[in-house]
């Protein structure tokens, strides 16, 4: 009965997601967050706002943090995307994820994937950040539970340690 809309042209997207290459038909207007959640099934990537306000969808694009909700999927052609699901190795949390767990950097957990990915990007370029550098790197990630105290503690717990 209902035919798919022909309004948006689809094209084949070749993209590396968490270390594996994929090919998917993606509409030109499709945002990276919808591609990751609906097509790749990576629901660890969250949406908390109507676009670019909360940071919950933060993923790494070629190692740099981007907001997946305001990034077109087709702009990621041939590039590498990392999500929260890609940090764990054989099901075991990375040191940073473990720190967020043990230090209670996650309460409700909804902002956590974005928060962890933004922290991961910071630690890769600056393994020993100061409190102010952590604050600057996470300025675009909103959390409503923690008052950010234990988030800073979580990042500091792995600062200076190898990943």
């Amino acid at each position: 009965m209902h035919e798919p809309s022909a309004q948006y042209k689809k094209r084949l997207l070749r993209i590396k997601v968490n270390g594996r290459w994929r090919e998917d038909a993606v509409a030109d207007g499709c945002m990276l967050v919808d591609y990751l959640r609906d097509t790749a099934g990576l629901t660890g990537v969250k949406t908390g706002c109507d676009g670019g306000e909360c940071g919950a969808c933060t993923v790494l694009l070629d190692g740099l943090p981007v907001l997946a909700c305001v990034t077109l999927a087709v702009r990621c052609e041939g590039r590498s995307v990392e999500t929260i699901e890609g940090l764990a190795a054989q099901g075991r949390p990375s040191r940073l994820q473990q720190a967020f767990h043990e230090k209670l950097g996650a309460q409700c957990g909804y902002c956590t994937p974005g928060m962890v990915m933004a922290s991961e990007a910071l630690l890769r370029r600056n393994p020993t950040p100061t409190d102010d550098e952590i604050r600057a790197a996470l300025a675009g990630n909103l959390c409503r539970c923690t008052g950010y105290v234990k988030i800073i503690e979580s990042v500091k717990a792995v600062a200076g340690l190898a990943p």
């Binding site: 009965m1 209902h2 035919e3 809309s5 309004q7 959640r37 990576l42 629901t43 660890g44 990537v45 969250k46 949406t47 908390g48 706002c49 109507d50 306000e53 909360c54 919950a56 999500t83 929260i84 699901e85 940090l87 764990a88 949390p93 994820q97 473990q98 967020f100 767990h101 043990e102 209670l104 950097g105 996650a106 309460q107 409700c108 957990g109 909804y110 902002c111 956590t112 994937p113 962890v116 952590i134 604050r135 600057a136 996470l138 300025a139 675009g140 990630n141 909103l142 959390c143 409503r144 539970c145 923690t146 008052g147 950010y148 105290v149 234990k150 988030i151 800073i152």
Partner: protein, 773 residues
């Protein structure tokens, strides 16, 4: 009983924490929704008006539209308070705020659903709309609800003690007026609901972001006119609540109505804007507070008038306006308290319960006035609080029981940690220190839907695997309540926490629980968990005794090992005892429950149940600020806070809760506010609703004080709300300390601070002029 520090025990990470950090925790929007239709809501574009006509014909004709529902499809009102259910899931003949649901569509995809909404024709006849309490209460104002004259939903007049004698006995009487802006919970997860209706069996399953799955279950049955047995409500992971989801919300019922109309599965996720419009948060509040004080700082009387702009429907309103008065008591010893409260209807999204429910804005008015008067009398703010402490156990004039009271220790801790004595009065220009106290209930001792049942029930299941499964209706929304249940069961059974599995909030599986509100879970569900574990332990000890051929009284159980007598030779492991117990009974199910005794359920006066609790938490805090007098910018440099939570069952989680609540108080004090332009929300995004980012957020040093409540589980009380109300007044007191300027409004945005500075300078100049002439 004297209080003590608890920081020696570190506590444990949340039992579901690893799922969250790995990104595998599934929230409502993450659930498998194969085949689900997309639901969208059509909302009122006007703030007040009659609905003359709704025509859905053009929308129904659109290819891909499966179901449309309007107010005509549900003639049942809903609401959290049985006495005040005056709201339809979708407006029927009248809309009362911009954004009120009118109709809804289920379609094959979002684009189609949106196009269908555009094709629904609605004709209104506009009515005058009121956006501030004063206008709504004007004598000639059109009534929002015909049965509420003057647009006042509830008036409260409470009078305890001899108020006139109290003010007459005072050395200083002062009155001030404070205005607190409306704010929002702004939990990061937007509202979402996944509803499945099976037209063959007639059963409905709803998975949803609720903090109160049982109330949702009740209201779905009421509004869909279904038998409760045909409904199942499941709470997946929930991304924060803070009260946003503590009553049933229109979109939840609308999604279920759509699923039934479509004969299938409908998913609805609200936008952030819609999540803001759904609202139910802290109302804009005007407080006029008058206080009598002796020269030594003793309070003699308090008179308080509160006006809350409650929005268009009742919601929790009656409770909120009662809390605002009830919580004037239970913190300090005040010989006389008079309270007049007015909950007003206005053409704005309905307010509701938000962390610190009802007490925050009155506490702000109280604690800032105490400081003004202390300055006038030359008293130290700590000394004034110490002059008015309660002595537990006691009962307040309004019938509230205080069984444990660690406020004195909280004061000592933050005074010392902040270096108050050495620093106050010696701060550099533009920098200030301020302090304040606050308290909150550990669960409302009288449930909203009174049925006579216990206040909390827990089931424990033990089977061949030796694992103990705790089934609880208590909604873990990130606060760590499931972890609390696991600890309570593990400690009582004396086994490792890894042996316990908690299943929470699935009405087909878990026993009924009233939900995550009024900080009730630790106290009530914690006690029920201990009771259940004790009942299970009895069965295990009996089995061990039989196997070891001893009397149950001789069995010693520690660390999962059962022996005859302490240090006895004959021993059984936990799994051996379980195997022995199963021989007698098969799979074991036990239950535990908890009920607040009637003497704790509040005063006999009208509305006396609100504020009643088994135990109050107590908090004291010191806030250090910097104020830039040129820009009006206020910066919070540091916070020291101590909370008496009775006993910290999980100190790690308690500290997390203390930091979070103080920070939320900071948001309200510093920058958060909802704004409406002719009823249209102008704040409904995270860019326009300014909550503090990590950059503006200071270090919060949290201390736990343990007063060991005689009735709390292991002595525990609540730990999530009691310190919130202390932040706004402590900050305003710190601003006065920094620049000598009083602030009558919060949030302390730069424009308000600059205006206060200008007014202050004007006053000083006038005074100088007078002095010269």
């Amino acid at each position: 009983m004297t209080a003590a520090f608890a920081s020696s025990r570190p506590g444990v990470p949340l039992i579901d924490g690893i799922d969250k950090v790995l990104g595998r925790a599934r929230y409502t929007a993450d659930l498998d929704r194969a085949g689900a239709l997309v639901g969208r809501i059509l909302r009122s574009p006007i703030a007040h008006g009659e609905i003359v006509r709704i025509d859905t014909a053009r929308a129904r004709a659109l290819d891909g539209v499966i179901a449309i529902v309007t107010g005509a499809d549900c003639d049942k009102t809903y609401g959290v308070l049985p006495i005040a259910m005056n709201e339809y899931p979708m407006a029927r003949d009248r809309v009362r705020y911009c954004g009120e649901p009118i109709a809804a569509v289920a379609a094959v995809d979002e684009e189609t659903a949106q196009r269908a909404l555009d094709l629904i024709d609605v004709e209104f006849r506009a009515l005058p709309a009121y956006f501030i309490s004063k206008d709504a209460r004007a004598p000639d104002a059109v009534l929002l609800h015909a049965n509420k004259p003057g647009n006042v939903e509830r008036e409260v007049h409470h009078d305890f003690g001899d108020i006139e004698a109290g003010f007459a006995a005072a050395d200083l009487v002062r009155e001030h007026r404070v205005s607190c802006a409306e704010i929002n919970h702004a939990q990061i997860e937007p509202h979402a609901c996944l509803a499945d209706f099976d037209p063959v069996t007639g059963r409905l399953t709803v998975q949803d972001v609720s903090q109160v799955v049982y109330y949702l279950h009740l209201m779905l049955a009421r509004c869909l006119d279904m038998d409760e047995s045909q409904i199942r409500v499941i709470k997946p992971f929930v991304g924060g609540g803070f009260g946003a989801r503590v009553e049933v919300l229109n979109f939840e019922i609308v999604t279920a109505l759509l699923a039934r109309a479509a004969g299938g599965r409908v998913f609805m996720q609200l936008t952030r804007e819609e999540t803001f419009i759904t609202h139910r948060a802290r109302p804009q509040t005007d407080v006029v507070l008058k206080l009598g004080m002796k020269k030594d700082g003793r309070f003699t009387a308090c008179a308080c008038e509160v006006t809350q702009r409650g929005g268009a429907y009742a919601g929790y309103g009656v409770v909120t306006i009662l809390y605002a008065g009830a919580l004037l008591q239970g913190l300090y010893d005040i010989p006389a308290v008079k309270y007049d409260g007015y909950r007003v209807y206005a053409n704005l999204p309905p307010c509701g319960a938000m962390r610190g429910h009802g007490g925050v804005n009155t506490r702000h008015a109280f604690e800032t006035l105490v400081d003004r008067m202390a300055r006038e009398l030359g008293l130290d703010p700590f000394a004034v609080r110490r002059a008015n402490l309660l002595h537990a156990p006691m009962q307040t004039m309004n019938g509230l029981m205080v069984q444990s009271y660690g406020l004195a220790e909280c004061l000592d801790v933050v005074e010392q940690a902040s270096g108050w004595k050495e620093r106050i009065g010696r701060m550099p220009p533009g920098k200030g220190l301020g302090m304040s106290c606050s308290h909150y209930v550990s669960g409302s001792a009288k449930p909203i839907h009174f049925t006579g049942e216990p206040h909390a029930v827990i089931h424990l299941k033990l089977d061949h695997d030796g694992g103990v499964t705790a089934l609880t209706g208590a909604a873990d929304i990130g606060q760590g309540s499931s972890t609390m249940v696991a600890i309570a069961v593990a400690e009582t059974l004396e086994v490792g926490i890894d042996r316990i599995r908690v299943i929470s909030s699935d009405t087909a599986v878990t026993p009924k629980d009233n939900g995550a509100y009024s900080s009730r879970i630790t106290f009530m569900v914690g006690n029920a968990a201990i009771d259940a574990a004790k009942n299970l332990k009895k069965i295990l000890i009996a089995a061990a005794a039989k196997k070891l051929e001893a009397h149950p009284d001789e069995i010693d159980c520690a660390g999962g090992i059962f022996r005859v007598g302490r240090g006895g030779q004959a021993m059984l492991s936990f799994k051996e005892v379980v195997a022995a117990a199963l021989v007698d009974e098969g799979a074991i199910s036990v239950k535990g429950s908890f009920t607040c005794p009637v003497e704790f359920q509040g005063g006999k006066h009208r509305g006396g149940a609100v504020g009643s609790t088994m135990g109050f938490s107590y908090g004291a805090q010191v806030v250090e600020t910097s104020v830039d007098e040129a820009t009006g910018m206020v910066t919070i440099d540091k916070v020291w806070v101590a909370l008496d939570c009775g006993h910290a069952i999980n100190p790690l989680a308690v500290k997390g809760q203390i930091e979070g609540q103080v920070w939320m108080g900071m948001g309200q004090a510093l920058c958060e506010e909802t704004r409406y332009l002719d009823g249209l929300p102008a704040h409904a995004s995270f860019l326009d609703y300014k909550m503090p980012t990590i950059v503006e957020s200071p270090h919060i040093e949290a201390f736990i004080v343990e007063s060991n409540d005689p009735n709390g589980p292991f002595g525990a009380k609540e730990a999530s709300e009691g310190a919130l109300a202390g932040f706004p007044p402590a900050m305003v007191n710190a601003i006065v300390n920094a620049i000598g300027v009083e602030l009558d409004e919060i949030p302390a945005t730069p424009d308000r601070v600059l205006e206060a500075i200008v007014q202050h300078q004007r006053k000083v100049k006038l005074a100088q002029k007078k002095a010269r002439s």
